[in-house]
């Protein structure tokens, strides 16, 4: 079996396409982690603050604009005619912005914020604090959500779920067909019959599962390694400050962070989250293994390359349905006691639902153990039962009786 695995893994990773893909990934991750440098090299003035020229009256009260000077600077109108110049004035109870070109959405939003600040601050100067409180209460009534459920659901983490579910879905899609296609190739090229004179069909079947699993591990480690390497490089360069500032300027990161370690604190990535992620990863790997087995068994009946897509397409369709279903039921109620809770124990579905639960709420150890046990039991069952169909498929013995496959 080790020769089959070594051969297949070598074949999978030591080929031009994969090498080019990984080089491309190294470049892309590098570009992403130094995107601030790349973008500013192309457009050095991208983050220059907007200069807003105002008349003398407004300039005298410029503290009322309450501006972020990294984004905008107020200057006295000096009548210079620059193409990127913006003039702001207040006349006839209206704010007028003069510019050479029409304002972009971002420029409109920034200038509007400045005007809003000015108007509110000017108003606050004219009324006392008590009156302001009354107005605020009337305009912005307070609402408190009195939650009776004992489950501790961190609402901020729930936003990560969409990303996680989508990532898992695409991982399933990309990895599940990896080994199935290999079986199709070996069968259609007739090499399989030759291999089976040296190893049993069971060994071949199990080796395919292990190859698939190893492929996922190696590619994940490779990708993780590339990302980690670039993060280390960026960290030693400026601790990630430039990148985080860039993200903040673009509005991707809502607050100013000075380093990657501050980012980790901000994302609340602690030991609990990391251990939950590790357990989620186990469920993901088991789920992919389960799916791979189904795909390999189905693909063993394929007799031509053209036929393989016809056979695999329904599997992808089912995956798509499960993906949308997961998104649909991804809410605290469903994950705590609804269908999401039940499906987190069901093999294959647990691959998506248990990671979701683990990352948004506390899941007890016994629940994890039960779900793991069921996932592993399902894999063993498919391994044993699927072998019968696999042997039928790879040797084209469609009418072979089950008793005939209990080989040496």
């Amino acid at each position: 079996m080790k020769h089959l695995i070594a051969f297949s893994v070598k074949r999978r990773f030591n080929n031009k396409a994969i090498i080019i893909l990984n080089i491309l990934m190294i470049i892309l991750v590098g570009v992403f982690l130094f995107v601030d440098k790349v973008v500013l090299k192309i457009n050095p003035r991208l983050f220059d603050p907007m200069i807003l020229y105002v008349n003398d009256d407004l300039y005298q009260k410029q503290e009322l604009f309450d501006i972020d000077e990294e984004k905008i600077i107020i200057r006295l109108d000096d009548q210079n005619e620059n193409s990127d110049q913006f003039q702001l004035r207040f006349e006839d109870d209206q704010w007028v912005v003069s510019s050479v070109y029409p304002l972009t959405t971002d420029q409109t939003s920034t200038i509007y914020q400045v005007i809003q600040n000015y108007s509110q601050n000017a108003l606050m100067e004219t009324i006392d604090h008590q009156q302001l409180t009354i107005v605020n209460k009337a305009l912005f009534p307070t609402m408190i959500n009195d939650v009776s459920s004992t489950s501790e659901i961190d609402a901020t983490k729930q936003n990560l779920m969409f990303m996680i579910i989508t990532s898992i879905y695409f991982m399933m899609l990309s990895y599940s067909s990896v080994i199935a296609n290999e079986v199709v190739y070996e069968k259609t090229s007739k090499i399989l019959e030759l291999i089976l004179t040296s190893v049993s069909a069971k060994t071949h079947f199990i080796s395919k599962m292990l190859i698939g699993w190893l492929t996922i591990m190696i590619q994940t480690l490779l990708t993780g390694g590339i990302i980690a390497l670039w993060i280390l490089i960026r960290n030693s360069y400026d601790g990630g400050f430039g990148l985080l500032a860039f993200g903040n300027r673009l509005g991707i990161i809502p607050m100013k962070l000075l380093s990657f370690s501050e980012l980790l604190s901000y994302l609340k990535i602690d030991g609990q989250i990391i251990s939950a992620s590790m357990i989620a990863l186990v469920f993901l790997v088991l789920g992919i293994l389960f799916l791979q087995m189904i795909m390999v068994i189905v693909s063993s009946f394929v007799t031509s390359i053209e036929e393989s897509s016809n056979v695999q397409a329904p599997c992808y369709l089912i995956l798509l349905v499960i993906y949308y279903f997961t998104l649909f039921v991804n809410n605290p109620y469903q994950m705590s006691e609804g269908i999401g809770y039940v499906l987190s124990f069901v093999p294959f579905f647990s691959m998506l639902f248990m990671p979701c639960r683990l990352l948004i709420q506390n899941v007890s150890a016994y629940e994890i153990v039960i779900a793991l046990f069921m996932a592993i039991a399902a894999i063993i069952f498919i391994l044993d039962f699927g072998l019968y169909f696999y042997k039928q498929g790879i040797l084209d013995n469609k009418k072979m009786k089950r008793k005939l496959i209990k080989q040496k």
């Binding site: 020769h3 051969f7 090229s189 007739k190 030759l194 009786k401 005939l404 080989q407």
Partner: protein, 294 residues
């Protein structure tokens, strides 16, 4: 000795092979002959352990075949079974490793076989770049690299040009002299006659004949008359003539039995323009095609 006794295999209600028995000694070549679906592939798959029989047993040197190591059999499948995108040496190394060969022995064996089949210069080339004949040689090496005791050749000569056919024929004879037991299936009956001492004729899973090739020919009533004559006349209306073939001055008449053949020969001897005349045994192909299996 390889001994197969009452081997039977059904696919559901369909007969794969029924009650097959034969034995094979070292330095013997057994021809397995039959039309498509006759049970040749099932027989080979049973021997190779790809299928389990419903009944019967197979033993080699007194041991159950299913308990033997994976290096006893060498198999050349009918179809091209190669990774086309691999280099020659990579394909050979992979399949040799699956036979649990020692890495040092693998390299020696690769050198030996590439040289023996005169394709050493292709060692580092991709298989897809090789001609059909050379790809077949690579397949042959895959079957032989681990020095198997029993070799199964499924249509080893199909699709090859004459020079490669001659080389492989020579190789098969060499393997025979190296104490190997060889099973060959072929649609080209002349090769079976050329190589095999014994043969099995299969038809829809049933054994129609098992025995020596010459016995089958002698037992058959069919005879040939070869006539070397300048005359181009047809003999089809003569008594006992089943068919006629002409090539240059030679006319071959397929006769229903030896008595009729002798009778016709006596008649033909009286003709002018006759250069030579002889009665011959039929080929296996003739016997099979005319269903003359006594």
């Amino acid at each position: 000795m390889l001994k197969v006794q009452a081997l039977t295999k059904y696919y559901g209600k369909n007969k794969g092979i029924n009650n097959l028995s034969f034995s094979l000694e070292k330095q013997e070549i057994l021809g397995v002959v039959g039309a498509n679906g006759s049970g040749k592939t099932t027989t080979f798959r049973l021997l190779l352990g790809l299928l389990m029989p419903d009944s019967g047993y197979m033993e080699y040197e007194g041991k159950d075949v299913s308990l033997l190591g994976n290096d006893v059999f060498g198999y050349l499948p009918e179809d091209r079974s190669v990774y086309r995108d691999l280099k020659v040496e990579e394909q050979l190394r992979f399949l040799a490793k699956l036979k649990n060969m020692d890495p040092t022995k693998i390299e020696i064996a690769i050198d030996h076989w590439l040289e023996r089949l005169e394709i050493s210069e292709h060692r580092h080339r991709l298989i897809k770049e090789l001609s059909k004949g050379n790809q077949q040689k690579i397949q042959l090496i895959c079957a032989l690299i681990h020095d198997p005791k029993i070799i199964i050749f499924d249509e080893p000569l199909s699709g090859l040009d004459i020079s490669n056919v001659n080389m492989i024929k020579k190789l098969i004879n060499e393997l025979k002299s190296e104490q190997k037991m060889i099973l060959i299936s072929s649609h080209q009956y002349e090769y079976i006659e050329e190589f095999c001492e014994k043969m099995i004729l299969l038809d829809k899973g049933e054994v129609k004949y098992y025995g020596k090739v010459n016995d089958l020919k002698f037992k058959s009533e069919i005879r040939y008359i070869s006539i070397n004559s300048v005359s181009q006349c047809s003999y089809l209306n003569q008594e006992g003539v089943l068919g006629q073939q002409r090539s240059a001055n030679i006319t071959r008449l397929l006769m229903v039995n030896e008595t009729k053949a002798k009778k016709l020969v006596r008649k033909l001897l009286k003709e002018d323009n006759l250069v030579s005349l002889k009665i011959e045994l039929p080929t296996i192909g003739d016997i099979i095609n005319h269903g003359d299996l006594t």
